[in-house]
Subunit: 150 residues, 2 copies
Amino acid sequence: MAQDLHPPAYLTDTDELVFLIEEVPRKLRRLFDASTARFGLTRTQWRALAYIFRTPGLTQTELAKCLELERASVGHVIDQLEGADYVERRAMEGNRRVWTLHLQPKAMQILPALREEAEAVYQRLFAGVSKDETAMLKRLLGTMSTNLEP
Amino acid sequence: MAQDLHPPAYLTDTDELVFLIEEVPRKLRRLFDASTARFGLTRTQWRALAYIFRTPGLTQTELAKCLELERASVGHVIDQLEGADYVERRAMEGNRRVWTLHLQPKAMQILPALREEAEAVYQRLFAGVSKDETAMLKRLLGTMSTNLEP
DNA sequence: GCTTTACCGTAAGACGTCTTACATTATGAT
DNA sequence: ATCATAATGTAAGACGTCTTACGGTAAAGC
């Protein structure tokens, strides 16, 4: 059997770091999806609800920017949320191209519970990481995100 | 038009950080895929090649652990790489359940160029980030990855 | 006013990954 | 030896996202 090598010596130090950058969100997504599964919601759906809660009347394109998804993907998410009676599309007066998005009562009811789930996941994620360290992490990731901007 | 809010005040500081943790790899993946597209390879395929290069004779299950993918997904990746003559499945003597994975000459030829592409992406990603900071980033992400271990 | 351009959402299809179920083969217990 | 259990890879199908192309609408140029 081939020896266990994590990671192989051929890969550079930077490779290892980049793999970590991808590994953490993958694990996080898995955990979070499990946590919210009882509501029948995915992480993206939950994020969408959060943004619509904060800014009622959002358009899908605006939401796409918030979620960093394509418009078509957001349309799909909203299809789901509308079908489950969490979200309502309303025509915007004066602009018949766009929908405005609003939460239904059913969504308002579950948001607090979802928040609790999120906090539980975060607590686990950041165990042993200090406030200063999370601040630095945020700053570094922010720089990197900007660096990758088109 | 709804005001631009990135991120909305409703979302906590931690939410923002978690969103960044997901945003960076997403942008990174997009950039990297564009860089390697000229070879007709995705990032995952390239990573698979790198691991097989380092440890010839890997099994698919071992590779799945390296890549943090499921076995079925790796099987699919190897199907592709084998179809493109980058990889060869060979029977393992003494265990007829498993395949061992080996690079074809075609793969060996392109690895250096792929490495150059990767370095170019990394240089952009880490612009303005010091060596100490990348070390800290690695340590923090490592902790977080461990925290999320099942 | 009319035309062109830009914007918004949808449709259709591709792709990558996951889950579940399964067939084959090894391993270990008795 | 036999049988139960575990390991390995595959098959089939679901899901989320992306890309491309398109129709409808608004805004801007002329």
